[in-house]
């Protein structure tokens, strides 16, 4: 099968909790039972709706919602899959994970303004922002709704390559400052921000990309004219 490479994974340079992309997710706990209708936006423009149910007696402890699949949907048909893949409801003790499988700039809104039940561009205490940084380089971290600043250096050595599957995510608490403020990661290692105060976390690549060395050109030839004589049988 010809598989297509997910190029966006390797091209992202900004990771924003309020504008989700491929390697970022926002997690929220809905503790009040009910049916929630969420508006999905991309770069601020409404793209569709998703509906899910939160119940006290729901078995599922996790519901994953792929925002990219909400495009054009009214919300009646659900576009999401739960952690167990069985239903579109989740327990009041569980978590809803908003993520995307394509594109960038996604946000989700349930209610508006101060009445909002949840607004992914303004995370509140208890929310989680998780992401994966792939490119080995230095990034700055900011809370756009506060004053916290920090940095992370992503590395990848030959020794690291052998233990990628063993890496555990790094936890950062988001309060008045980031804790820790400056830290190191290995490429593909998870980075999880636990939000303690209102936050929109933006991580930006600090250094410009170095040009990749040229790997030569691919030469194309005009195909040879087909022979007119009949082909000979192989055997």
């Amino acid at each position: 099968m010809l598989a297509t490479l997910n190029r966006q994974l390797f091209e992202a340079t900004v990771f924003d909790s309020g504008a989700l992309g491929l390697t970022t997710s926002v997690v929220h706990q809905f503790t009040v039972a009910g049916i929630y209708a969420a508006t999905v936006r991309k770069n601020g423009k409404p793209m569709g709706n998703v509906t899910f149910e939160v119940r006290d007696d729901a078995a599922a402890m996790q519901l994953d919602i792929d925002l990219a699949k909400s495009q054009g949907s009214s919300g009646n048909e659900c576009c999401c899959g739960s952690h167990d893949g069985a239903s579109h409801s989740v327990s009041t003790k569980g978590y809803v994970v908003f993520h995307t499988t394509s594109g960038t700039g996604w946000s989700v809104h349930i209610g508006e303004g101060k009445q909002a039940t949840f607004d992914s561009t303004r995370l509140t205490k208890g929310d989680i922002f998780a992401l994966t940084l792939l490119e080995p380089t230095r990034y700055k971290i900011e809370n756009k709704l506060g004053t916290a600043k920090g940095s992370v250096e992503v590395g990848l050595t030959q020794a690291d390559l052998k233990r990628l599957s063993e890496l555990k995510p790094v936890m950062v608490t988001v309060g008045k400052s980031f804790d820790p403020e400056h830290f190191k990661l290995i490429s593909t290692q998870g980075l999880v921000f636990r939000v303690e105060t209102d936050a929109r976390i933006v991580i930006t690549r600090q250094e410009k990309r170095k040009a990749e060395p040229k790997r030569g050109r691919i030469r194309f030839h005009r195909p040879k004219a087909a022979e007119t004589r009949p082909t000979r049988k192989a055997s």
């Binding site: 997710s25 990628l164 998870g190």
Partner: protein, 312 residues
């Protein structure tokens, strides 16, 4: 008792054999799906050398006939498993993971790699044993009413022939035994195929994917279920799974036993050619003298091949 007996020396017989050996070519290609992978071969060879021995038990043995592989390409198509990142547990509990983040896959599906192993440059051997036989051949293009003389005069000739073949020969063939460097060849081909798959990515991204995949050759060996001995596995794939050995053996049997005659004798046999009439009367040309061969047997001793014909 035979009307006519012709003996051919062993040396002359060897020359007859060498002529058809040198015209022998084989080419075949096929592919098959083996579940976790697909494989195909594209092969071609010709024959060289061989010692021809006329034996006293009325058989001929051709030994150490070399199969010279002009092409022996084996191609493998393999699905590399999904290459994904993420999926880590961020809220572990004693009862399992309460919150696990989604996995992100680098490809939208299992990517394929395809690699070709040029295994040529080796020589296999085949031997051939059988009795000789003369078979009568009537040209299928000859109209039912046409007599043998008119058939010979037709252009192109539609003459009948007696043809000399090996009678249902027994073929012993060496299994295709690929070189012991095939393991290195496979590893190089796998690495090249993965590089080709990822060639447009920046170096760090390729490093990550290679890091996730681990040593790709180990992964490919696991997918292909290759035991320690890659050489034997590939030989088995060609010899047994594809049955290439059977195909080659059957082709050789057909070639020497049915398709290509060692020699052919026209029937009726032209004893004297057409000549100018030396007399002062009659036609300018005398017609050729031809004798129909009713029966033609062949046998051999350890020094010569003998043809015995009943004519008339």
């Amino acid at each position: 008792m035979a009307n006519l007996t012709i003996a051919v020396s062993e040396g002359s017989f060897v020359r007859l054999f060498n002529a058809i050996r040198d015209n022998f070519t084989f080419a075949a290609a096929d592919s098959a799906d083996f579940g976790p992978f697909t494989a195909s071969y594209d092969v071609a060879f010709h024959l060289e050398n061989g010692s021809v021995d006329l034996r006293s038990d009325n058989t001929v043995k051709v030994d150490e006939l070399d199969i010279k592989w002009d092409k022996l390409d084996l191609s493998l198509g393999i699905d590399i498993p999904s290459i994904c990142i993420g999926g880590w547990c961020i809220i572990p509990t004693p009862f399992g993971c309460a919150l696990r983040l989604p996995r992100i896959c680098i490809f939208d599906d299992d990517p394929d790699i395809s690699l070709t192993l040029p295994l040529g440059g080796i020589t296999s051997e085949v031997s051939l044993t059988g009795r000789l036989v003369m078979r009568h051949f009537v040209n299928p293009a000859r109209p039912p009413g046409m007599n043998a003389w008119d058939a010979q005069d037709a252009v192109p000739s539609l003459a009948s022939e007696w043809r000399l073949f090996f009678d249902d020969p027994i073929v012993d063939i060496d299994p295709i035994d690929v070189a012991d460097t095939v393991g290195d060849q496979l590893e190089a081909a796998v690495n090249a195929a993965v590089d080709n798959l990822l060639f447009f990515l920046p170096g760090w991204a390729r490093d990550i994917i290679n890091g996730i995949l681990g040593p790709v050759i180990d992964l490919v060996r696991a997918i292909l279920d290759i035991p320690d001995d890659i050489q034997e596995w590939i030989s088995d794939l060609l010899n047994v799974s594809f049955g290439l050995l059977d195909i080659i053996a059957q082709f050789i049997i057909d070639y020497f036993g049915d398709k290509t005659s060692l020699t052919a004798i026209e029937d009726p046999y032209p004893l004297l050619p057409a000549t100018a009439n030396p007399n002062n009367f009659g036609p300018a040309m005398l017609i050729p003298v031809k004798i129909p061969i009713r029966k033609l047997n062949v046998f051999n001793t350890d020094v010569e091949m003998v043809l015995e014909a009943d004519i008339g």
